[in-house]
């Protein structure tokens, strides 16, 4: 799931300052699960904005996903005469909505953080950088590209102390986690594999599936 955090109210107010009537749109999937932009957060943010500016009209809605055409389409009758759309989706959703409604300013209410999981109540951690070349089969299901602060591919750096990464005590050293996982799985020999150099992905990413394209064309 994609994890995000709400921007400060001050920044959101700065964004919406030019408008008197806005449509605040929540997202029903990731943003609801990570408590950043679901129906509950939509209500709270609308209340907060109106509390700060009584003249402002904030209409609310939540669509199941802001990153899929068919769900974005459900917004078309609601957008109407709103001067701007304030989106509580991840950056992906914000852009998808912006391209569907090119004549409306679409504003991000959230800061998208990463692809991750809820590790414990109220704590989320990053698990995947979407690097385009998954090596989890060799690393005991722990991603060093993402979870090692240096994205090291060929073993630990020597900076860890008491199992924590040198960058902060609350981040475990990914390579020690890999070590424990491989040991548990009897796969420690994977640590001794040929040194890897990463072919870094070229941004912006683009996936083309000719098989699917052909079907669409016919």
């Amino acid at each position: 799931m994609i994890i995000a955090e709400q921007k400060t109210l001050a920044e959101i107010q700065e964004m919406v300052a030019p408008y008197r009537k806005i449509l605040l749109v929540g997202c029903g999937t990731c943003m609801t699960f990570c408590s950043a932009g679901g129906p509950e957060e939509v209500n709270k943010l609308a209340d907060a904005l109106v509390a700060e500016n009584k003249d402002m009209v904030v209409d609310k809605t939540t669509t199941p996903r802001q990153c899929a055409e068919k769900f974005i389409d459900r917004l078309k009758d609601k957008v109407g005469d709103h001067e701007a759309i304030l989106s509580m989706a991840c950056g992906n959703g914000v852009q998808a909505v912006a391209s569907r409604f090119p004549d409306k300013p679409v504003l991000p209410a959230l800061n998208t953080q990463f692809i991750g999981v809820e590790q414990e109540k109220g704590v989320w951690t990053e698990n995947c950088l979407a690097c385009g070349d998954c090596i989890l089969w060799r690393t005991g299901g722990v991603c060093p590209v993402t979870r090692c602060a240096k994205s090291l591919l060929n073993g630990a750096c020597g900076g860890a102390s008491e199992g924590s990464c040198e960058v902060s005590k609350d981040r475990p050293c990914a390579w020690q986690e890999i070590y424990h996982a491989l040991k548990r799985l009897n796969m420690l020999h994977y640590l001794k594999g040929k040194p890897q150099v990463k072919d870094w992905p070229i941004h912006p990413g683009r996936v083309v599936r000719e098989d699917l394209r052909e079907i669409k064309a016919t």
Binding site: K150, G155, A156, G158, A160, S168, W175, V197
Partner: protein, 291 residues
């Protein structure tokens, strides 16, 4: 004798290290280097140590070569991608640098520009492979070089890793570094000879040279700071007390270093002394040990 010749001769190796400062002033640093010039086989020059922005290693290495010192060019993967790393290795060679210490490097968060974009395009192992490749006349993509270096690659290892996983990981990586071409290792600072002996036993069969790292303890505060903040460095309490009680702190610090080097001498192939500005203490320490 060059560092490579010293290494091949089988003698007990002595290296030291200088750290360029913030700014262009090199007066002190060159003075420090001059003091130890005739007592060491090589002098390392650190590469933006602790991720603090400073004068560069390559420029200072070049200055040392002008003084007739054989420098070890420390190169980290923190700030340069594979293009810049290869180019700097070639540039270093063109400027007279013959030895390279390949390091991963500290994370930028450790230094004074904590939100700098970390690079880590390569790591210490793949950097060593690249040095070998450049030496063979090819770049990383297999393109031929017109004129190639013959750099002597070295690496680091941390014998003081604080748990079994960390130590196993260090040793596995050390093996990878040797396979990737590392001809010598300089260790993180060692204060516990028993632990160092155990470590050396574990790496006994490996075909390489190990130089034990000795950091001069300049104060009790520094010892406590390292125990808290420097991964893999542990100064045992009795040493801290010895320093605390001593009237002549510098002498006590030298005595500790002398004991450690004497104790480690038969366990490894050399010593890497990190004097941190106390370079003038190195000659008397070596006199005392008979090096």
């Amino acid at each position: 004798m060059s560092f490579r010749q010293a290494l091949e001769s089988g003698k007990f190796l002595v290296t030291a290290e200088v750290g360029p400062g913030k700014g262009t002033d090199v007066e002190h640093l060159l003075k420090d280097a001059q003091i130890i010039k005739d007592r060491v086989d090589a002098i390392n020059v650190t590469d933006l140590q602790s991720s603090v922005m400073r004068l560069g290693s390559m420029a200072v290495c070049h200055m040392l070569t002008d003084m007739g010192i054989d420098p070890v060019f420390q190169v980290t993967c923190r700030d340069r991608n594979r293009l810049a790393l290869q180019s700097d290795l070639l540039s270093g060679w063109a400027l007279g640098i013959r030895n390279v210490l390949a390091l991963t490097g500290d994370h930028p968060t450790m230094g004074d520009h904590p939100r700098a974009k970390p690079v880590f395009d390569l790591d210490s192992v793949t950097l060593l492979e690249v040095i070998g490749k450049l030496n063979s006349g090819l770049d990383m993509s297999g393109n031929e070089l017109k004129g190639s270096p013959d750099l002597l690659p070295g690496a680091v290892v941390n014998p003081g890793a604080d748990n079994e996983a960390a130590l196993d990981l260090q040793i596995i990586k050390m093996e990878k570094k040797i396979e990737a071409g590392a001809k010598f290792f300089q260790t993180q600072g060692v204060y516990d000879l028993d632990a160092f002996e155990k470590f050396m036993k574990r790496v006994e069969g490996l075909n390489t040279k190990v130089l034990v790292g000795i950091i001069l303890l300049k104060s009790v505060g520094m010892a406590r700071y390292m125990n808290k903040n420097v991964a893999g460095v542990f100064v045992p309490e009795p040493l801290i007390q010895e320093l605390k009680k001593a009237e002549d702190k510098a002498q006590a610090s030298m005595n500790i270093a002398i004991r450690l080097i004497k104790g480690a001498k038969d366990l490894c192939d050399g010593v890497h002394i990190m004097a941190l500005g106390w370079e003038s203490k190195i000659p008397p320490i070596m006199d005392e040990i008979g090096l």
